[in-house]
């Protein structure tokens, strides 16, 4: 379960001001929610791949992809099935099967065509890019930088600290769950060679010790906050300062160009979905 963790490296993305990366995520989230053109999204994917390759986080993105495959396939087939009851919005592509039928007194069309695949691919790609942009920030920004970045955006320290703490705790909780699963299977609880129902039931069983471990961790963390005199009502000082550099400028410029090209491609190759 080696995911959802910051990757310690020295790439250009790691060196960026966290605010630049937050802005990258927000911009990409907006772009991917507005743009529904496959060609434009495919270009954006290429742009992302260049970023991932240059930052050596490609394998982590593949891990994310493998974790998301069920969700992405579900989205793909959902839109494919919904598309079976519509005619293509654009002409020119192959139609594999077409018929009409009546149901509850109404005439319906059943059309299995290229457009069903197109819609499935567009929606899956949008979701993947949206999640991947967030994950890119997560992989290259540690939780101390997240807190610093949020504070620079004048987010109250209590909120910034809570967000940073979540990212500190997530990997710990995942490790705890893995340890509990290992411990229980080592005592004879079958979790590998069993059906889905048993698997789900086992996960419910694991949640019990996990809950206690998480509560225990929470108590330890609150004790540590007490030992370190953390008081949100008192003004804190800051040891580290973050400052945007020339790299941030280049990265923002590259993103502006990429988004502009995406918009142009969307206009040129738009197929309504």
């Amino acid at each position: 379960m080696d995911y959802l963790k910051y990757v310690d490296a020295n790439s250009f993305l790691h060196k960026l001001d966290p605010r630049t990366k937050f802005a990258f995520f927000v911009a990409m989230a907006v772009v991917t929610s507005l743009i529904k053109s496959f060609v434009a999204l495919a270009f954006l994917l290429v742009f992302f791949i260049i970023i991932w390759k240059s930052c050596h986080i490609g394998t982590h993105i593949l891990t994310l992809l493998s974790k998301l495959k069920v969700l992405l396939l579900f989205i793909f087939f959902l839109w494919l099935v919904l598309g079976l009851f519509q005619k293509p919005a654009a002409e020119g592509g192959p139609i594999f099967f077409q018929t009409t039928f009546s149901w509850v007194g109404k005439q319906h069309v059943f059309c299995f065509d290229w457009y069903d695949f197109y819609k499935g691919a567009v929606y899956s790609l949008r979701i993947f890019l949206m999640i991947a942009s967030f994950y890119t920030v997560l992989l290259t920004t540690n939780f101390s930088e997240i807190i610093l970045g949020l504070r620079k955006w004048h987010i109250p320290y209590s909120v910034a600290f809570a967000i940073g703490l979540i990212f500190q705790i997530i990997p710990i909780t995942i490790n705890e769950l893995q340890a509990i699963m290992d411990a229980q299977s080592s005592r004879g609880l079958e979790i590998d060679k069993c059906g889905w129902v048993t698997k789900v039931r086992n996960y419910v069983t694991f949640s019990f010790p996990l809950l206690f471990r998480v509560i225990g961790k929470g108590q330890s963390i609150s004790l540590a906050m007490h030992y370190y005199k953390l008081d949100f009502s008192v003004r804190r000082s800051a040891y580290k300062a973050i400052r945007a550099s020339r790299l941030d400028t280049y990265f923002i410029a590259a993103n502006v160009v990429a988004i502009a090209i995406t918009i142009v491609l969307r206009v040129m190759f738009y197929i309504p979905v």
Binding site: F143, E190, I221, L223, Y228, L230, D231, K240
Partner: protein
Amino acid sequence: MDYKVNHISYKYSKDGRTVLDDVTFSIEEGKVTAIVGPSGCGKSTLLEILSGVIPALISGGELSGSFDKPSDSLISVVSQNPENQLFGYGVEDAIAFGLENMGIPQAEIASRMDYVLDLLSLQYLRSRSVANLSGGQRQAVCIASVLAMQPDILIMDEPVSSLDPNGKSLVQMVLKQISLDGNTVILVDNNLVWSAGIVDHIIGILGGKVVFDGSKEEFFQDFDLQRKLGVIIPQEVELYRGLAPYFPGLKMFYTVEDGLSQLAGRVETKLFPKNEMQEESEPRSIISVHNLNKVFSDNFHALMDVNANIPEGMVVAVLGQNGSGKTTFVKHLNGLYKPTSGDVRYRGQSMLEKSVAQISKNIILVFQHPEHMLFEETVENELTFCARMQKIPFDQEKITDVLTQYNLLEERDSFPLNLSMGKKHTLTILSVLFSSADVIIFDEPTLGMDAFLMRQLEELIQKLKGEGKTVIIISHEIPMVFRTVDHAIILNKGKKIFQGSRQQMADRDDIFDSIHISMPPAVVMSKALGFGRVCYTVDEFVEEARTLKKGEDE
């Protein structure tokens, strides 16, 4: 000035039992005070009161008495588990956290950070991330982060309980430096093995009451009290305790060197029949490991071409520093990890195709932390969990016997997670008694145990061996390992560097030097004094020393 704990009594609720009863003692400024006592004696509650957690975070209890200190005193704590204490991704972030909370200006933070990192010789960790540090390094950074806040009193709660020998030496060095620098330290730990040379003052607590308040020298002379408190003491002190009645004038010694210099010339030397002892017949293997390689997804090569045989019906230790591959190795034995290449066989049959649960019928692994294992509603159900999973019949009589023998009968219907840490440990270990497995693996079973529990564990291991079971132990408690095991496998950086009997292991000082682990004082001294055999326990050493004692006129 000194700090005074003044007639403190405490109950967690008005109707609850008295956890601390009229506790009074002084904490001397600039000294290291150790608070010792068995599991459940009230040490942790006292720590919570001294650190202000009670009543600031835990209210609702009944507290009387006072902790007399100047009102602006800063008291900070280093907990057992730095993973839960350090805030911040990098070492600098973690050290700066407390200082930022106190509103210290940036320049002052930088200066204090330099000071603590220099003081504790940790500058080399400065740009590292906390997640990539070893256990000992993390604990050292945790101490640095607290020390940077310049507390008037630094409380350390079992700071080395989860560390390997390297980690212990690092924290030991750090604590020594802190005490030389004149800091006031309270150490809450029932294991004085690592801190005996540093502690100045000892407070013994039993049943919530102070039963000892004196110097380290006085404490180590009071053998009955040490036993009553379940304190784990250095084996040198145990040796002195055993030898003192037979060697008049022997002075307390805390180091092997001191012990050797005092005993030199007072015992006869025998020739050590080295070659004879090394020729031992090859024991029958129950598990065999062939060319085992493990490479993790991040390309970390955890095990490299390991070949090993686990002899049947013996107690086998797997030794090595943290990161040497011990846990990875045993997780291959019970199927939790599948080899990148190589094979693991149980009674000649490969186990690669079997699930962990299927393997558990033959090989069972007991994890370090009881909270990972306990999830039934009652102690009885927890005890029989393995048996029910493996569909092994059991009877009520056996359950009652086991619960009675290990003082758990009263808690038969209790919720396991409400038990004390010691009892939780015992319960997870006992559940293997009801399993069909004939190989039992304990991963760091002594974690957080006091001397009573450790003794109980040793007895249980011998009982399992007596029943013909094979027991594999990963442990950093080297004296316990030498007392208990028949055979050992030593790993270093993923490679097997030794496999052999306890006798052969005791003969390999070179191996122990290379992995920076010290052999127990009884072993080292019996070899250095030229006893006829290597002594693995204090009793064996005392017996041999008595036999070889020279006449008084000599």
